[in-house]
């Protein structure tokens, strides 16, 4: 199977994730959509790693997973902090960045 199919699938998943970030308003779901985009990038990286027979792309994909895990931890911490302050969990309502 030509590797271009993997890249097309990756592009499709990335576009879906980007559309989700624009459409949804719940920050939890927006974080999930960012995960989708990162995973699409991972798929492209691993596909290129296979194309070259070089492991560097896989290492890059693993580092991306680490960064995604950090982003999730911070993002969910922010959401819990927002919830504690009884603010609406809605990115359209949360326009002010004052403490």
């Amino acid at each position: 199977l030509p590797l271009i199919w993997y890249l097309v699938a990756s592009a499709l998943i990335f576009s879906i994730g980007a559309g989700g970030v624009l459409v949804r308003r719940n920050p939890l779901v927006i974080l999930l959509c960012i995960e989708l985009m990162l995973n699409a990038a991972n798929l492209a990286l691993v596909a290129f790693s296979r194309a070259h027979g070089n492991m560097d792309g896989q290492i890059f994909a693993l580092i991306v997973m680490v960064v995604a895990a950090c982003e999730v931890a911070i993002g969910l911490g922010l959401i819990v902090a927002i919830f504690r302050r009884r603010l609406p969990i809605d990115v359209d309502e949360l326009r002010e960045l004052q403490g």
């Binding site: 199977l1 030509p2 590797l3 271009i4 993997y6 890249l7 097309v8 699938a9 592009a11 998943i13 990335f14 576009s15 879906i16 994730g17 980007a18 559309g19 989700g20 624009l22 949804r24 308003r25 719940n26 939890l28 974080l31 999930l32 959509c33 995960e35 989708l36 995973n39 798929l43 691993v46 790693s49 296979r50 194309a51 070259h52 027979g53 070089n54 492991m55 896989q58 290492i59 994909a61 997973m65 680490v66 960064v67 995604a68 895990a69 950090c70 982003e71 931890a73 911070i74 969910l76 911490g77 959401i79 819990v80 902090a81 919830f83 504690r84 302050r85 969990i89 809605d90 359209d92």
Partner: protein
């Protein structure tokens, strides 16, 4: 055989992605993302990235998604209202933008002159993508990146704890001592301090 597995996995991954974006309840969106991640792990296996696939299933579908489910359960799966304040025009424009992005990326991919993309990839070398090879690369060529990643994880863990800690402004949930329970005195919402978890429970149920 590889084609069949690819198309099943790719359809699963795309369907999971669509479900994540379109499902209204955040809890179901998380479950759709788990399906997406498992299908993506199958794609990684097809690309001979065994360790990445295993890491994907264990770290993402295992640990990170459990964190998501906990936060969704804590915050409460608040369904979004059907009538968005942003309006239907912006929503439509977003979908058009996503479609345009996909078309653009596909044109760039199909029109590329990279010859490796039309092949099955480089000839397979035994040991490609195994944990041994990954570990060797992490501890030799990419040692600096590995250490920085570990430091980043530490910083993120500390930051998450500081962000999610209980602020001084909000009252702590009232602790229920064993002695009070034994005395038969029930704690009702009326004697709950304001803004506490007990008050959020509502009026006493009789």
């Amino acid at each position: 055989m590889a084609e069949v597995i690819f198309f099943f996995a790719a359809i699963g991954a795309v369907a999971g992605a669509v479900g994540t974006v379109s499902l209204r309840n955040p809890f179901y969106a998380v479950l759709a993302l788990v399906c997406h991640l498992l299908a993506l792990a199958a794609l990684f296996l097809l690309l001979r990235a065994e360790f990445v696939a295993a890491g994907q299933v264990i770290v993402y579908a295992g640990a990170v998604m459990v964190l998501y489910v906990f936060v969704v359960a804590y915050v409460g799966g608040t369904d979004e209202p059907l009538t968005a304040s942003t309006g239907a025009t912006l929503r439509f424009a977003s979908i058009v933008f996503a479609l345009a992005l996909f078309v653009e990326l596909t044109i760039a991919l199909v029109g590329t002159s990279l010859s490796a993309l039309d092949s099955e990839g480089a000839p397979y070398v035994p040991g490609f993508g195994t944990p041994a090879q990954v570990g060797e690369l992490f501890l030799t060529r990419f040692l600096l990146g590995f250490e920085i990643a570990s430091l980043l994880l530490l910083v993120a863990a500390v930051g998450a704890v500081i962000l999610a800690r209980r602020r001084a402004g909000l009252a702590d949930p009232r602790e229920i001592s064993v002695a009070e329970v034994m005395r038969g005195r029930e704690i009702t919402a009326t004697d709950a301090p304001p803004e506490s978890m007990l008050e959020a429970g509502g009026p006493p149920q009789r």
